[in-house]
Symmetry: C2
Subunit: 323 residues, 2 copies
């Protein structure tokens, strides 16, 4: 839930006048997304999402993100389509911030995904991976393995405040992942979403209507995206792994894009890395809540529990992967 | 900015199925309103606002609030119209809370009201006061003068933490207001909005499109509503009083409903009372921020400054009132 930037009516009217979408009828901050300010913009031609990019987003990355949405939408993938201003640009400036208007994607994210939702997710993720193959821009993953140690060093001294022994455990895990992490040529690479949590996937009338929030998208191992989804979709509230959901997700993914043997073998390690990545960012946010913050930090220990699950399984069959 | 209650898709679909507004296409929490959870609900027949009433609202008051909106809208006043379910009811239950769907009011609130906006406000407020005259339900003002001392007693011990000497000043002000506050028969009574701050008044294409958030509405002196608006619309950011705005507001109000001599005379005292009421509620919220709160409390001292302005003026001509 986040609206960080206040926009004056005059500035908004002037900004929207640069697009062929009619005049502004209303504009309300929406309580979703934590990185940017999002508004539901209602104009004479319908509903749109107006996003103002806040400080955590590098403006140099915006052409990649907006270009990717354009590219994926053109290939039939459900996602918000950046609206082009009369100038042709999809990126403008509003209230001193980079800003874009995208089409409104109908649907809602599901609070308690079922195995059926996980299957629809697997199919959509694989289609996204295929549709991204001929996208021309590149963006390295700013939160890939080499970034984890510097991130960890900013929390290490205080990790045991959150849970006794957490620091030593993360240290050992990080050393192992640094040693064993796959090289770029070991696995198929391509455009990944990198943050495909349930709140970034919309369903309408029980069908998947699209994916949103491409602001972590980057080039990385495609199977890493699969690992992120296993972490964020297939565990229950009590943090037990639901094998039925894992099976539905992986089978639907493979029906569109079969995993290669190297990806299958790497999956538990990628899942450990993905769990550690969310553990580290959440740990940092947990220890560094700014005074007066409007956003409640997420529990880092959730991902420590998930990490321990991944360590305990023998191979990808532990996720329900059928060969 | 507030969304307190999570609603499952199944519960939402079932709730909306009781209305003739088509199926749910999307539903997003909006970052406005601090008392209730508000969602922008998009269905096959358009945009609506779904409100879940949280604990600070007494469910017994809801028929008054919803009935009042129905009544005012029927008399041509711009305000959200409660949508009737097929059962005829405007009030239902969702996620264990009282809930209602109202029509979507186009427009936006203005961050920096001009004198023109203040004039449009004055006209709309007077029209609301006239339109409310034949409304059949009654609701005493739960935040009127007799409530201020009990409210004050919950903050008194800690008031000087906020500003040295604040406690003694409030104590003296409260004693004076308790002595001089107008009796019910001294002034014209009727339905007042009681919270008509700029964020509760929408403008569209520079005309006033309507009033929202009737959840403090009650029976009280009509001129008390005028005093609330003087406090919330006619001061500048630096807390100086803008006489041009006061004049525009009062002249437009009087063009529709001329103030009676007793109201004119009482106005500075009513403005002091209104300033104290917001000072006391903000002071309490300031001193009692719950841990992990998502809502940032508003500065109580803003209303202390305004209170001091009202004390210093000789009579209502200090607000720009022309006789």
């Amino acid at each position: 839930m986040a609206v960080y930037t206040e926009v004056s009516d005059e500035d908004l009217d002037a900004f929207v006048a640069g697009y062929d979408i009619g005049r502004v009828l209303s504009c309300k901050g929406i309580a979703e997304g934590v990185e940017n300010s999002n508004y539901l913009l209602h104009t004479e031609s319908g509903n749109f999402i107006l996003t103002l990019y806040e400080k955590r987003v590098d403006p140099n990355d915006l052409p990649f993100f907006l270009g990717l949405m354009d590219h994926l939408a053109a290939r039939g993938l459900g996602c918000p389509l950046p609206v082009h201003a009369r100038s042709g640009a999809t990126l403008g400036t509003l209230a001193g911030r980079p800003a874009a208007i995208v089409t409104f994607l109908e649907g809602q994210w599901v609070r308690r995904p079922t195995a059926r939702h996980c299957g629809l997710l697997g199919e959509a993720l694989a289609k996204m991976h295929l549709a991204g193959r001929d996208f021309g821009l590149r963006r390295p993953n700013a939160l890939s393995m080499p970034s984890w140690r510097p991130l960890w060093q900013r929390s290490a001294a205080r990790a045991d405040e959150v849970s006794a022994g957490l620091g030593a455990d993360i240290e050992a895990e990080l050393a192992l992942l640094e040693r064993d992490w796959p090289k770029k040529d070991d696995l198929p690479f391509g455009v990944i979403h990198a943050d495909l949590f349930p709140d970034n996937v919309f369903f309408l009338h029980d069908e998947l209507s699209g994916l949103i929030d491409f602001y972590f998208a980057c080039d990385d191992a495609l199977a890493y995206d699969v690992a992120v989804c296993l972490n964020s979709w297939c565990f229950e509230q009590d943090l037990s792994f639901n094998l039925t959901k894992g099976r539905a997700f992986l089978a639907a993914y493979q029906a569109v894009r079969p995993l290669e043997p190297a990806e299958v073998e790497a999956l538990p390690l990628l899942a450990r890395g993905s769990a550690l990545r969310f553990l580290l960012t959440r740990l940092y946010d947990w220890l560094n809540v700014p005074p007066g913050a409007l956003v409640k930090p997420k529990d880092p220990l959730e991902y420590h529990r998930k990490l321990r699950f991944h360590r305990a399984i023998a191979d990808a069959s532990g996720y329900g992967l059928e060969r």
